[in-house]
């Protein structure tokens, strides 16, 4: 009788342990080397993020001169890099005047400009806001689940850097002339628009360029003539999926 009871109790605890263990470990997550936050664009997903690009045709008197139609097209390929990644966020570009864009609710924009106190040579910068206009970290945690999703972004290309519309098709021209590929740079910056941090935590690039990320779109630095950021690596996809899940119309965080 005692032995039977002991056996039943042992079976009970074995089953309990086997049942509880997976839930303690948590739902499966894809591996990602990016530092991602839980800051996300608003649910429901799939979500379309509209943005507008400053175009020199619409805004001829702006300083610095803004993008040509051809340049706008190449930059929009950068957002397309993520739109095609099959997770719950995609971008729709609008080439329009400022007033039209703003009145239509396109709060996010892409333009040329300057931020003169950044370390020299910066290529582009992406600013991100949450819905309350707060810095979406620290004392203002950005979390769509608590009503503070990401709301808007501003991507600024350094007006003092040279760019090219297609470095891939121009041989060594870009590298020789210190020109950056619009599509390549834009793809990286659009990754930041959902607060995805850089991959590859290089501290000193020649000492510790984390091998995980050096080929990825979200790798920290870029070179003139570089085009490898145009296409996502698994590292980039994993980070996006970790935040948004695959595009299944649900709120899942992981791909199934």
């Amino acid at each position: 009788m005692v032995a039977r009871r002991t056996g039943v109790l042992t079976a009970f605890w074995v089953i309990m342990f086997a049942a509880v263990l997976p839930s303690l470990v948590g739902p499966p997550e894809v591996a990602a080397h990016h530092h991602t936050t839980l800051c996300k664009w608003d649910f429901p997903w799939p979500r379309n993020v509209n943005y507008y690009l400053y175009n020199s045709q619409y805004n001829p008197s702006q300083s610095p001169p803004q993008f040509s139609v051809q340049e706008v097209t190449r930059i929009s390929y950068g957002s397309g890099t993520w739109s095609e990644a099959n997770f719950n966020l995609y971008f729709t570009p609008h080439m329009t005047s400022v007033s039209n864009g703003f009145n239509q609710g396109y709060l996010s924009w892409v333009h040329r400009g300057t931020a003169s106190n950044l370390p020299i040579g910066w290529v582009a910068v992406t600013y991100v806001w949450d819905i309350h206009g707060n810095r979406p970290t620290g004392s203002h945690p950005c979390n769509r689940d608590t009503g503070s999703p990401i709301r808007q972004f501003d991507i600024m290309f350094n007006q003092d850097r040279g760019y090219h519309i297609d470095c891939l098709a121009s041989g060594n021209h870009c590298k020789s002339n210190n020109l950056y590929d619009f599509h390549n740079v834009a793809a990286h910056e659009f990754g930041h628009t959902f607060l995805m941090d850089e991959s590859g935590d290089w501290i000193i690039p020649w000492v510790w360029a984390d091998g995980h990320g050096s080929e990825s779109t979200m790798f920290k630095s870029t070179d003139a003539g570089e085009t490898k950021k145009r296409t996502l690596e698994n590292d980039d996809r994993d980070a996006g999926w970790r935040m948004y899940g695959c595009r299944n119309g649900k709120s899942t965080y992981t791909c199934s």
Binding site: N59, V98, S116, I120, W122, G133, D154, D201
Partner: protein, 270 residues
């Protein structure tokens, strides 16, 4: 064929019932620990906030923004001094009040349409120089850095580590800004190194990692990040004394500064 007693059946049902309950509770706790509600809480009643932020009420549209900057990078230690106009060690002795920088762009419609000023915030720091390796003969240098807080408007950038007053630093600086203020900016995001003791420097961007998450740094990498200053300075000067950047090496998209424009200046500041 074995017959199961009612008692045995009750046992089995109880075990599976308790197991299922444990799975549900465990999942709840897991999501709570992650700061995430379980997915059902979202899918049944998603909270969609449509109220626009009142950026128009703020002095700058950039208030509250968090910035991620993309940089080119020097590809080697030997190239680092060649992309710098001024290399000095010194102590941060003063920090200015943050101020509004120039607008990021201008135009007749822009600021009214986007709902506020397009100015970002910057902060100046004064560094008392104690050793010069390259550049002008200066005893103090003012370095402008992006970021800061004015009233309730705050701007910050990922990976931009602000100076701390009292901090001893090794700086790689670009030529002074062309706005007659004589202020410098960093030549590269790798332009800010901090002394962690009298003889050891580390890139400022590694400080947080070293202090808070040192286990994430591979053991073989650590000695290459925490560098003896004398040895480090020796390698920088050796590269400059060779007369030219490493042959055939791409400068990482940064401008190479000739020795004519910024000579070696190895001395101690008065």
């Amino acid at each position: 064929m074995r017959q199961f007693t009612l008692r045995q059946i009750v046992w089995v049902i109880s075990i599976f019932g308790l197991g299922s309950l444990a799975i549900i509770l465990g999942a709840q706790r897991t999501f709570a620990e992650r700061g995430e509600p379980p997915p059902t809480a979202v899918s049944t009643s998603p909270r969609v906030t449509t109220t626009p932020a009142k950026v128009g009420d703020k002095p700058s549209v950039y208030c509250g923004a968090y910035g991620f900057v993309t940089y080119p990078a020097p590809p080697s230690l030997e190239m680092l001094p060649w992309v710098s106009h001024q290399i000095v060690t010194g102590t941060v002795v003063e920090q200015s009040e943050p101020y509004w920088d120039a607008p990021t762009m201008t135009g007749p419609d822009v600021e009214t349409e986007v709902g506020g000023s397009l100015r970002t915030i910057a902060t100046d720091y004064t560094i008392r120089v104690d050793q010069r390796l390259r550049g002008e003969d200066i005893a103090t240098v003012t370095v402008a850095r992006a970021g800061g807080t004015i009233d309730d408007c705050s701007m910050a950038y990922a990976d931009e580590v602000p100076f701390q007053v009292g901090e001893r630093v090794l700086l790689f600086l670009a030529e002074p800004l062309g706005d007659s203020t004589g202020k410098y900016v960093l030549a590269t995001p790798l332009g800010h190194w901090a002394f962690i003791d009298d003889q050891t420097v580390v890139p400022a961007r590694a400080l947080e990692l070293l202090r808070e998450r040192p286990d994430e740094i591979p053991k073989d990498v650590l000695p290459q990040i925490m560098l003896p200053y004398d040895e480090f300075a020796g390698r920088l000067l050796a590269s400059l004394r060779s007369g030219a950047p490493p042959e055939g090496e791409y400068a990482g998209g940064l401008e190479v500064v000739s020795l004519k424009d910024a000579p070696i200046q190895l001395d101690t500041a008065p």
